[in-house]
Every structure is written in C-alpha cells, then in structure tokens.
C-alpha cells in the first residue's frame, strides 16, 4: 500500500461510506475503493478499525481514520480545495451542530423506524418527523440552495441520506415520514442535492437498496422480538 495513495474501505449500501465518497469526489481526490462484506469482515478491516469494526475507514499515509463525520473533517483539513466547512468559527460551529443533529436525531430515528414494529415503530416515526421539522425550519431560515449556502457543504453531505435513502426506508416499511406538503424547504433541498453533478451519478441502485433494507428490517425486527420474548 503506497503511502501517498488514498484507500477507502466501504460497503455499497452504507450512507456513512457514501458521505466520504461524495467528499473525496468534491475535492477531486483519487482513491482506491475496497468493498467489504459486513457479514464476513476482512482481517484488513478488523486491523484498521479494531474499536468499531465498521466502515468507512479512510487510509492515507498508511494511517487509518474511521467515523464518517471525522473522516469528512480530516479530508477538509488535508485537501483544502472546495472547502466543506465554512471559514468563520461560528458558522463552522453551526455546521458541526446540524451535522450532529442530522446524524443523531434524524438518521437514527429513521433507522429505528425501519427496524421496529407496532408501537415502537410508530414512536420512531414520530421522532423522525419531529427531528425533520427542526431540519426544515433551519433550511427555511437559511433560505439557500444547500445547507452550505450556494454550494454543497458539510451538513449537506451528512444529511444526504435523507434524499436517497429515506424514501427507500419509507417504501420498505410502508411509512410516511417526509410529506412534501409539510416539508417544502426539505423537498427543494432534496431536489437541488440529487441534481448536483457530484451526487447524482454516485448513488446505490434503488432496487438493490430496497431488497437489502427489506431484509435487514425484517432480521433486526425479528431479533428484537425474540429478545423480548426470551
């Protein structure tokens, strides 16, 4: 593994990996991609990320960096062209805040909704909608094309899963979370995001995502039910 080269260990369906791919593409950084089988992890992955044993892992100068949001910060610090974070410290703090929010409040609750049933699912759907309402409010306040302003930035990449993965979750779970009449600013943002040249040509196939998440949704919900009944 040559030291200057950049490697990315990933999984095709992972929204965390997707964020990193977009960031590298926006910066014009060439890299080699290694697809991991998350259900049969390679010794390389276990060596490079012994703590979490998860993708993505970025390897640069022979050193591994894990955690997608931290990888984005690393990429922004090493390759300074097309900055992901704004220049001003207050604006940077806002971006970090909303990226954390998108990850912890929006994505986690939509995942919980996908992987649960009955009352638990209803509760998670409600949490997702509440979180998205705050996101919508912030987008309206900003009034710009993207969260990052007129160009794509840090928060857009972290929140990007909303644009292409959430609709798949909704379909798999027959759930209605993102109602276009209630989230006009979010829908505008989704449209702008999905039509961005870096984003639109680099998304996992919808039908493959549907099959994968339908399977995962059932597996995880079944597991939860059997733990409860044990």
């Amino acid at each position: 593994m040559q030291s200057q080269r950049v490697w990315l260990l990933g999984f095709w369906a992972s929204p965390f990996v997707q964020r990193v791919k977009w960031a590298l593409k926006l910066k014009g950084v060439e890299y080699e991609y290694i697809e991991e089988d998350l259900f049969d992890k390679s010794s390389l992955l276990l060596k490079l990320n012994p703590v979490q044993k998860l993708v993505p892992v970025l390897v640069h100068n022979r050193k591994p960096i894990s955690e997608s949001i931290l990888i984005l910060e690393y990429i922004d610090e090493v390759w300074k062209q097309n900055p992901l974070l704004p220049h001003d410290p207050y604006e940077r703090a806002q971006a970090r805040f909303w990226a954390k929010f998108a990850e912890e409040k929006v994505r986690e609750s939509t995942w919980d909704a996908l992987c649960s049933r009955g009352e638990e699912r209803e509760k998670a759907v409600k949490s997702s909608i509440e979180a998205l309402e705050k996101f919508e409010e912030e987008l309206k306040l900003k009034g710009t094309k993207f969260f990052g302003g007129e160009t794509i930035g840090f928060v857009d990449l972290v929140a990007g899963f909303i644009s292409y993965q959430l609709p798949v979750f909704e379909e798999v779970g027959s759930m209605k979370i993102l109602d276009s009449s209630k989230f006009p600013a979010t829908f505008d943002w989704i449209y702008n995001f999905l039509n961005h040249p870096v984003i639109k040509d680099d998304l996992p196939a919808k039908d493959l995502m549907f099959d994968y998440y339908a399977k995962r949704s059932k597996e995880i919900s079944d597991e939860k039910d059997s733990c409860r009944n044990a």
Partner: protein
C-alpha cells in the same frame, strides 16, 4: 484575557459543562458563568439552545453555540493560543475519535449503572468496564490522550475519571482497577491532580448524594 462578552450557561453536575469550563480556563479566557436550574430553565438557555434546551451553551458576540464538543472546537478556533487540538490532521482525528467514543459508548453504560437494577445493572457495569478497557488503548502507552500534556481528548474525557470513582463508591461496583487497566488508572490519577482539570469538578460528596438521589428516583419509577 478579556473574552469580549463570553458567557457560559452550565449546571454544577453536568460533565458537558465541565468540559467547557476546563477549556476556557486552559485558554485563560474570562467569562461570566450562569448556573442553570434545570427544573426552571432560563429564557437565555431556551433561546440559546432552542433545539435541545440543554447546557452547556456558550454565548459570544451575541451568538450562541451548543453541544459541548462543538463548543470546544469553537473555543480552539477563536482563541488560538494554547491549542487543544494537535496540529497534525491525523492526530486531530484521533483526538476527536476518543472524545466521540466516550460520549457514544461510555456515557450510556455509565448512565445505565445509575438507572438500572439487578441483571440490567450488571450488564451496564460489564459494558462500562469493556468500554473503559477500550478507552485505555487510546492512550497508546502515553501519559494522556494529548501525548505529554493535556489536550482536546483529555478535556473531553477527564470527567470520566471523577464519575467512575464516584459511581464505584456510591454503588459499590468495580469499574476500573489498577490491575486490569493500569494505564487508564494512572491517567485518572494524573487528571484528578491537574489543577485546571480538578478546579471545576463538582464537590464529591454533593455529587455522590445527587447521583444516589437520582438513582432512587429513576429506579422507583421503573419498579412502579
């Protein structure tokens, strides 16, 4: 050093507020501290952090910043002397990684020790021990997470030193011991002796009582 109207909204028992106080002290930044009554939050808090309505909130130049690790990064970027984060991007990523690890893994397990009973409590204690053992690997054989001197990760994680000791005493459980985690045990001693780190640690007995009361309240709810 005048902080141009810096104000911090905090709570005496909050480890997240503690982080920010330690960081401001390390940088020598003067600020006004406002203790919040969490049962009766001030309008300043509700306006400053409308999304979560939680402490800490840093107010600076008429703007508010929330989320303790976000605040630490802000402080480091505005006041560039005595840097908290290292200069090298890889080392910065490592510092951020361990701070995040503590929040995502150690905090829920340590909270579980307070809020659970019986088998569930045992499980939380076990998880806490596992995560603390993993945390030890982050020291990488060094004296502290920042290397030779206290840095971002130490400031973010230092409260654990105090809380773990407190929970061990309050609930008579073993979380860290000299034999299993010698490096982490040494780091805990180091951090608890540091004058800046220990300045804002809450009064020990008060914290023990506060945690025991909290546990009584929460486990009574669970058993009812």
């Amino acid at each position: 050093m005048a902080g141009e109207g810096v104000k911090l909204l905090g709570y005496w028992a909050s480890p997240f507020a503690l982080r920010v106080r330690s960081a401001l002290k390390l940088k020598g930044i003067e600020y006004e501290y406002q203790e919040e009554d969490l049962g009766n939050k001030s309008p300043l808090l509700l306006q400053g952090n409308p999304v979560y309505k939680k402490v800490p909130v840093l107010l600076h130049k008429g703007k508010s910043i929330s989320e303790s690790l976000v605040i630490l990064e802000y402080i480091d970027e505005v006041w560039k002397h005595n840097p908290l984060l290292p200069e090298d991007p890889y080392e910065r990523a490592r510092s951020r990684f361990w701070a995040k690890f503590v929040d995502e893994k150690c905090v829920p397990a340590l909270v579980g020790v307070i809020t659970k009973v019986g088998e569930e409590l045992e499980k939380s204690a076990r998880e806490a021990r596992e995560h603390l053992k993993t945390l030890e690997s982050g020291l990488d054989g060094k004296r502290c997470f920042g290397g030779t001197k206290i840095g971002f990760a130490d400031v973010a994680i230092a409260w654990i030193a105090y809380w773990v000791r407190m929970e061990q005493e309050a609930f008579k459980i073993q979380l860290i011991d000299q034999q299993n985690m010698p490096l982490l045990a040494a780091w805990i001693d180091y951090v608890l002796e540091d004058p800046v780190m220990k300045e804002f640690m809450p009064p020990y007995d008060k914290l023990v009582k506060h945690t025991r009361d909290l546990r009584e309240k929460l486990t009574a709810v669970v058993s009812n």
